[in-house]
C-alpha cells in the first residue's frame, strides 16, 4: 500500500485532495466478447489469486454459474441467447467491476478511505475501512458491488490492484485461452480494440464497436461488442450508464446545503438569545398568579 498511497486520484468521503503527485499510466482491461468462448477460466483464476471461494450453489438451468456476483464471486460469465437477423446468437459477457473514471460507488461511500481510485484508474475497495452500509451498491450504475454474507463488507473486482502495482497483469488475463482478455495501458487497449473492430466489420458485424461509456467518464474495463448499438443484448449491459441524478443530489449539493442550513439554525438561535435575552416571567404575571392563587 505504501507506493500506491502516492498515486491516489480520489478517496471516498474525503473533501481534501489525495496524494496525487506521481503521474502514472492509465491501465485498462479489454474484454473482447467476440472471441470469448465462455470457458470461465477467468472466474477460476480470480478465485485462485484472490483466495475467494463461493458457496457451492445449484444448477439454475443455464450456463451461468455462479448465477450472480457475490461477496466471493467478483467476476461471472453471463450467457445470453438472442436472435439477430433471424439467427441465434450466444453472447457471452464477463461481468464485473467496470472501474469507472467517475465511480458512483466512491461518490456514495460514507466511510473515508473505504473506496480508493488510483491514478492508474483502478477503483479499489479497502474493506478494513468499509462499514457495510451498501451505499456503493446504491451508487453503482452497473450493479456490481455485493455485501459479503460472511463479514458484512462490500466486495468486487480489484482489477488485481496488488498484481498491477508490481507490474503484473490481472489473474483473469493470465488465464484466458483465446486472448479475449487483454490488459495494458488504456491507450494501447483502445488501439488494440480498433484493430479488432476492423476485422469484425470486414466480417459483416457493421455495428461492432468499443464499449467505453462516456456517461461515467469512460471505464477501465472495456468491451469489444459485435452489436455495440445494442449493449442491452449482453445480459442487460446498460446503453448509457451514468450516476443516477438521485445519487448526485444526495451526495452533491445536499451535503453542504444541509450542513449550512443546520449551522444557520444554530447561529440564528444564538443571535436571538444574545439580542433578545431570555423570555422570563414578568413581575405582573408573578403578582397576578400569586393573587389568583389566594382568591
Amino acid at each position: 500500500m505504501a507506493l500506491q498511497s502516492l498515486d491516489i486520484e480520489r478517496r471516498s468521503a474525503t473533501t481534501t485532495p489525495s496524494p496525487s503527485q506521481r503521474q502514472t499510466m492509465e491501465v485498462a482491461k479489454l474484454i473482447d466478447v467476440t472471441t470469448c468462448i465462455g470457458c470461465k477460466a477467468c472466474q477460476v483464476a480470480c478465485m485462485e489469486w484472490n483466495d475467494v471461494r463461493d458457496e457451492i450453489g445449484e444448477n439454475v438451468g443455464v450456463y451461468d454459474n455462479p448465477p450472480d456476483l457475490s461477496g466471493a464471486s467478483w467476476t461471472v460469465m453471463r450467457y445470453s441467447e438472442v436472435e439477430q437477423d433471424g439467427k441465434l446468437e450466444w453472447l457471452i459477457r464477463k461481468d464485473g467491476c467496470m472501474h469507472c473514471a467517475d465511480p458512483g460507488c466512491l461518490k456514495a461511500c460514507p466511510a473515508p478511505g473505504a473506496i480508493i481510485q488510483y491514478a492508474n484508474g483502478i477503483v479499489d475497495f479497502h474493506e478494513e475501512n468499509c462499514i457495510g452500509c451498501g451505499y456503493c451498491i446504491t451508487g453503482c450504475p452497473f450493479n456490481v458491488p455485493r455485501l459479503s454474507k460472511k463479514d458484512g463488507k462490500a466486495y468486487k473486482c480489484t482489477l488485481c490492484s496488488d498484481r498491477v502495482a508490481v507490474g503484473m497483469e490481472p489473474a483473469c488475463i493470465k488465464s484466458c485461452p483465446t486472448g479475449a482478455l487483454q490488459f495494458g495501458s488504456k491507450e494501447r487497449m483502445k488501439q488494440y480494440a480498433e484493430e479488432r473492430l476492423v476485422d469484425l466489420r470486414s466480417r459483416g458485424f457493421e455495428k461492432a464497436g468499443l464499449y467505453d461509456p462516456p456517461g461515467v467518464g469512460g471505464t477501465h474495463v472495456m468491451y469489444v461488442l459485435h452489436h455495440a448499438d445494442q449493449p442491452e443484448l449482453y445480459a442487460k449491459l446498460p446503453a448509457n450508464p451514468h450516476i443516477s441524478p438521485m445519487v448526485k443530489l444526495w451526495k452533491g449539493i445536499s451535503k453542504p446545503a444541509a450542513a449550512a442550513a443546520l449551522g444557520l439554525v444554530v447561529l440564528g438561535g444564538l443571535y436571538h438569545l444574545v439580542t433578545r435575552g431570555r423570555n422570563e416571567v414578568s413581575k405582573e404575571n408573578e403578582k397576578a398568579a400569586e393573587k389568583e392563587k389566594e382568591s
Partner: protein, 206 residues
C-alpha cells in the same frame, strides 16, 4: 415530594420518561446519521463505537424511536389540534420572537409553534421510518431505483427534522424555566399564566 401550591403539574412521570426516551434516541440518530451523511461529521461515528457499529445500531435506534414516538403521539395528540387562535398566533411571528405574549392570542397546553413541531415530527418520522427501511441492507435488498429515492427522502426529512428539533430545544432554553416541565414535571403558576394562559385557566379555574 410535598405539594407546592405555587406549582402546577404539567407532565406526568410516564410522559416525561416517554419524552426523554424519544429525545435520547433522536440525539443518537441525528449524530450518527450526520456522521454517515457528510464526511465533516464522520468523527461522530466514534460515539456509537466506530463506523461499522454506527451502521449496525442506527436502524435499531430508529425502531426504538418510532415505537416510543407512538406513545408520545397518543399522549399529546388531544392537546395538539390547531385552532383559529393558533392561526392568529402564527400570523404574529414578530411578537412571538420578541416574547410579547400579551399581544398574542391565549395559548392552551401547547402553543401553535409546539403544535407545528408535534405535527411535523410525526410526518417526518413516518417518512424517515419508511425510507430507512428501504435503505437498510442488513437482511434484504430492495430495487436500486427505490433505494436511490429513499436515500434522498431520508436525508431531506432528517435535515428538516434536525432543524425543527434545534428550534424546539432553543425554545426551551429561551423561555426561562421551561426545562422544569420536562424535568420535575411541574411549572410555576406564573410561568403558566404568562406562556399558556388558556391552559392556566383550565388548571386553576381563573
Amino acid at each position: 415530594m410535598s405539594h407546592d401550591p405555587n406549582m402546577l403539574q404539567r407532565y406526568s412521570a410516564p410522559e416525561r420518561i416517554n419524552h426523554w426516551v424519544v429525545a435520547i434516541c433522536f440525539v443518537l440518530l441525528a449524530l450518527s446519521g450526520l456522521a454517515l451523511f457528510h464526511p465533516v461529521f464522520w468523527p461522530l461515528t466514534d460515539l456509537l463505537g466506530g463506523g461499522t457499529w454506527t451502521r449496525i445500531i442506527h436502524p435499531y435506534i430508529g425502531f426504538l424511536m418510532s415505537l416510543s414516538f407512538i406513545g408520545l403521539f397518543t399522549r399529546f395528540r388531544p392537546h395538539n389540534r390547531m385552532t383559529s387562535n393558533d392561526k392568529e398566533w402564527l400570523m404574529h411571528m414578530g411578537e412571538v420572537l420578541k416574547g410579547e405574549e400579551g399581544k398574542l392570542p391565549e395559548q392552551g397546553k401547547f402553543n401553535a409553534g409546539q403544535k407545528l413541531v408535534f405535527k411535523s415530527a410525526a410526518i417526518l418520522l413516518v417518512l424517515l421510518l419508511i425510507s430507512g427501511l428501504v435503505i437498510w441492507r442488513a437482511y434484504y435488498s430492495l430495487p436500486v431505483d427505490l433505494v436511490r429515492i429513499a436515500v434522498v427522502v431520508h436525508a431531506a426529512s432528517a435535515t428538516l427534522l434536525i432543524a425543527i428539533i434545534l428550534v424546539h430545544i432553543y425554545a426551551a432554553i429561551w423561555v426561562k424555566d421551561t426545562f422544569r416541565a420536562m424535568g420535575s414535571g411541574k411549572v410555576s403558576r406564573a410561568w403558566a399564566r404568562q406562556h399558556h394562559r388558556a391552559w392556566y385557566r383550565d388548571m386553576t379555574g381563573k
